[in-house]
């Protein structure tokens, strides 16, 4: 039998002024199940709290209702207090007499009536509370970083610095990401390679970092503190341990293709190291074009390799790792260059990234600016901003954020190479909000004399040697036609193709454009709604290097914070499945945003499968209750907010209403449940068709 204590707080005069607290306490004392009901001037004060503790001990209370302020204010306080004497904190509830009553209803009679109701509802709820225990989760103190761009590199280094092990998975043959492809970087114009390469080497040398290049995450299981990840190490066809990186194989290889690293501006072999500073600096065979794999010929590389490192038989390898936290730093891609049919697909129209390669000293032209069609230096060049960005027609209304800045940078780099050349920029707005950013753009305009034209370009076509650019200057209100030798498109930044598969694996939501979603845009920018998974860099939204690095540091500090704890302790407000009634429909699984619902097999003693049921992973469940509201057989409950608790509140809304258990409610005892629900199930089955038939006839 329930023994409930009610404690009504005056809150000085805050409550007592408009609510007759004495009357409320007296009323509460008469409610069935209440054994003690007291009022006090300040319940949260030390003597007030003592009152509660004494009553629990003296009256052997099974439940406590504190009728005071908002539970968002002091629930934690009171629960902590009662826990001190071994009373289950989740057997305590608060009735909100202050924020929801005395402060908002001036009429004393009405306020008192409402206060009585609120107390009554809580008494009824607490009668149905069950003792709950915090969920303790052990933590594997090893992190996984996916993506080896600047963001991933930074995050990995920071975590390793903090003393924990890191696994860095990169899908391409080398780490470095896009930053490795850049020439000089805004807003300082320092050389990208010079600042990036040392960090890459640091990654390679750090003993706490395990590097998997040419690898991809295949599966992710588990939850915060306890993830199991499967990594596919794609067959490199070169034994990294044996290879010395001498490069003889590459020299001998007869097969060529366009280099991805050079954004298609240069060529590479079938066996290749993507760029000279690659980490690891060991080649890989592109099996799609290698003659050995396509035509079973050649084998030159194997013949020439002094260490016998080439292995054509190598297979994809799978490794499983246990990690406690995951940082996703998979970066971005650019759209294809020729996305506007009205711009055509002339070879002299290139993307910003291709331009970077063309001007880079390590690029295919060794830094000499040559246009693709005839190798001449362009005497006039046109840059188009917002190509495919801020363009609902192309399906991307968002701003790519980095292109205003890199276009300004490109005009400078161009003018530094071709001193008398003319650089035109078509822009809509210049977005240069950052430290020293606008100054940088102004420098391009004022010192390097880039000609900025406000307007979009409608058409590009070739006329002999030249490309004709037909644009508008909206400040003049006139058309402009420019004869250009080369055109650079600031194409939109997009999420990497197929990244949604990884996001789904990680349980991270992604937006309309497949950028991964942070838990809160302002206050939790590096967390995701999947506990233990964090974001860094351009995978979340277009970002430049400073921002990517800042976010990587933030994500690393979140991981370090997590690893600093001995064990994770979580509130027990989680869902629970009544597996005897669960029909295994898994509707709950579909509504759970946290992928907390798993499929469990129920087997008999002989090990034969009886049925599949839902099971809640307490590590993942965040306690939203969507599943409980969805289950059609009422087989899943949210602890602390069970149907029975809520129905009892509804039930006692009006005085004098007969107290009956609502239909469809799950009785406490699972054994009983089975019989009942089977019967109702049968009834339903019989009744349904008959009903349907009737309706049609009428």
């Amino acid at each position: 039998m329930a023994r409930i204590g009610v404690f009504v707080c005056w809150c000085g005069s805050n409550i007592a002024e408009t609510v007759d607290v004495k009357e409320v306490a007296k009323y509460a004392g008469c409610l069935p199940g209440v054994v003690i009901s007291i009022d006090n001037k300040y319940m949260c004060s030390d003597p007030g709290q003592r009152l509660i503790l004494d009553a629990i001990q003296k009256e052997k209370l099974t439940g406590v209702v504190v009728a005071a302020c908002s539970p968002r204010m002091h629930e934690v306080t009171y629960r902590r207090t009662v826990a001190q004497i071994g009373f289950n904190p989740y057997m305590l509830e608060m009735a909100n007499l202050r924020e929801h009553c005395s402060w908002v209803h001036p009429d004393k009679r009405m306020a008192t009536e409402k206060a009585k109701d609120l107390v009554r509802l809580m008494v009824e709820k607490v009668k149905r509370n069950q003792p709950l225990y915090n969920v303790q989760i052990p933590v594997t103190k090893k992190a996984l970083v996916i993506g080896g761009g600047i963001a991933g590199i930074q995050a990995a280094l920071d975590i390793a610095q903090g003393g924990y092990e890191v696994i860095l998975v990169e899908k391409s043959p080398s780490i470095g990401g896009h930053m490795a492809q850049l020439d000089e970087t805004f807003p300082t114009l320092d050389c990208s390679q010079c600042i990036l390469t040392p960090r890459m080497v640091e990654v390679a040398q750090n003993t706490r970092i395990r590097l998997y290049t040419y690898s991809e995450v295949e599966a992710v299981d588990g939850y915060i503190g306890n993830f199991q990840v499967t990594i596919r190490k794609k067959a490199r066809s070169v034994d990294i341990k044996k290879c010395t990186g001498c490069g003889q194989c590459i020299q001998k290889c007869p097969t060529k293709t366009k280099s991805e690293f050079d954004a298609g501006m240069g060529i590479r072999k079938a066996i290749y190291v993507p760029f000279p500073q690659a980490v690891p600096n060991k080649p890989v065979i592109d099996r799609d074009i290698c003659l050995k794999f396509t035509k079973d010929r050649c084998g030159a590389c194997q013949k020439v390799c002094p260490t016998g490192a080439i292995n054509y038989e190598q297979q994809d390898e799978f490794v499983t790792e246990d990690v406690g936290a995951i940082i996703c730093a998979t970066g971005y891609e650019l759209t294809e260059t020729h996305i506007y049919p009205e711009y055509g697909n002339d070879p002299d129209i290139i993307s910003g990234l291709q331009f970077e390669r063309l001007v880079s000293a390590s690029g295919p032209t060794l830094g000499e600016l040559k246009r693709p069609s005839d190798g001449n230096a362009p005497q006039s060049i046109v840059f188009l901003q917002c190509v495919g960005s801020r363009d609902p027609l192309a399906g991307r209304p968002y701003c790519s954020k980095i292109c205003c800045m890199y276009t300004a940078k490109h005009t400078m780099l161009y003018r530094h190479k071709v001193h008398n050349g003319k650089a035109y920029v078509f822009y809509m707005d210049i977005r240069a909000g950052g430290k020293n950013y606008d100054e940088f753009v102004r420098r391009a305009i004022e010192e390097d004399h880039a000609i900025y034209i406000r307007g979009r370009v409608s058409r590009i076509y070739r006329k002999g040697e030249k490309l004709i650019v037909l644009g508008a200057d909206t400040l003049l209100g006139a058309q402009v036609e420019i004869e250009a030798d080369m055109i650079v498109l600031a194409t939109a930044t997009v999420a990497p193709k197929g990244i949604e598969k990884l996001a789904q694996m990680l349980g991270v939501s992604y937006d309309l454009h497949n950028f991964m979603c942070e838990a809160h845009p302002k206050l939790r920018p590096v967390e995701t709604n999947s506990a233990g998974v964090y974001l860094a860099g351009a995978c979340q939204a277009p970002k430049d290097i400073p921002e990517s690095v800042a976010q990587a540091g933030a994500a690393a500090s979140k991981v370090l914070g997590l690893f600093g704890q001995k064990e994770l302790s979580r509130e027990p407000i989680v869902a629970q499945v009544n597996q005897s009634t669960c029909a295994g429909c898994f509707t709950c699984k579909e509504v759970c945003a946290y992928k907390a619902i798993e499929i469990r097999e129920i087997k008999d003693k002989k090990g034969n499968l009886i049925k599949f049921v839902a099971e809640v992973n307490k590590g993942k469940c965040q306690g939203c209750g969507a599943c409980a509201a969805t289950c059609r057989s009422n087989s899943i409950e949210l602890c602390g907010f069970t149907d029975s608790q809520i129905f009892s509140q509804i039930n006692h809304l009006t005085d004098g209403v007969t107290i009956e258990e609502p239909p469809g409610e799950v009785p406490m005892d699972a054994e009983e449940t089975q019989g009942v629900s089977e019967e109702t199930e049968k009834e339903r089955l019989i009744e349904k068709p008959a009903l349907a038939g009737q309706k049609v006839k009428n």
């Binding site: 908002s70 539970p71 968002r72 204010m73 909100n96 202050r98 924020e99 929801h100 009553c101 402060w103 908002v104 209803h105 001036p106 009429d107 009405m110 306020a111 009536e113 409402k114 109701d117 609120l118 509802l121 939501s509 979603c517 709604n529 407000i573 579909e590 509504v591 945003a593 946290y594 965040q622 306690g623 939203c624 209750g625 969507a626 409980a628 509201a629 969805t630 949210l638 907010f641 149907d643 809520i646 129905f647 509140q649 509804i650 039930n651 809304l653 009006t654 209403v657 609502p662 469809g664 309706k695 009428n698």
Partner: protein, 191 residues
Amino acid sequence: MKKIKDKPQESEDLLLEKDRLWQPRIVAFLCNWCSYAGADLAGTSRIKYNPQIRIIRVPCSGRVNPLFILRAFIDGADGVLVSGCHPGDCHYSTGNYFARRKFALLKRLIEFCGMDERRIHFSWVSAAEGSKWSQVVNDVVNAVYQAGPFTGFDLPVFSKETEIETPADLCKQGPERFAYSIDLMSRTGKK
């Protein structure tokens, strides 16, 4: 709805008289993170509103089972309000979308049962919208007051002459109407 039509026009005096006799009883299901906090803020800001509302706290509007609402009416409520975070702001990322879909369906059902639609309300109130909360409460109480005491469900009776709307019928009424029903189906159905 039938009830509105049947309701006789009442004079000012009568309304005043009724005012003394009857007060609507309204249950509000508020999500813990936004609307409940918004109601708290109304309190800390001392914004006054109608006391005829009884709040039941739930973690998320997605926790609200439509049965809670029906049950509330059976158990003597005259009106129900469900309030959660603004779309896109859900603490649990998608809970309020599920809530929205469920309620669109429930609303149809409740209208079908002949219930005055002024009895059932949904709103988005954020933790920063104390004054909006008080406004919502007053609006809801007013609407329910207009609807009068809840006396029970009033299922429509289909005679042979009454035509039942099927999707095919909707088609006949022109594409907009049909589009609407499809839209409704898709909104209430699964993602």
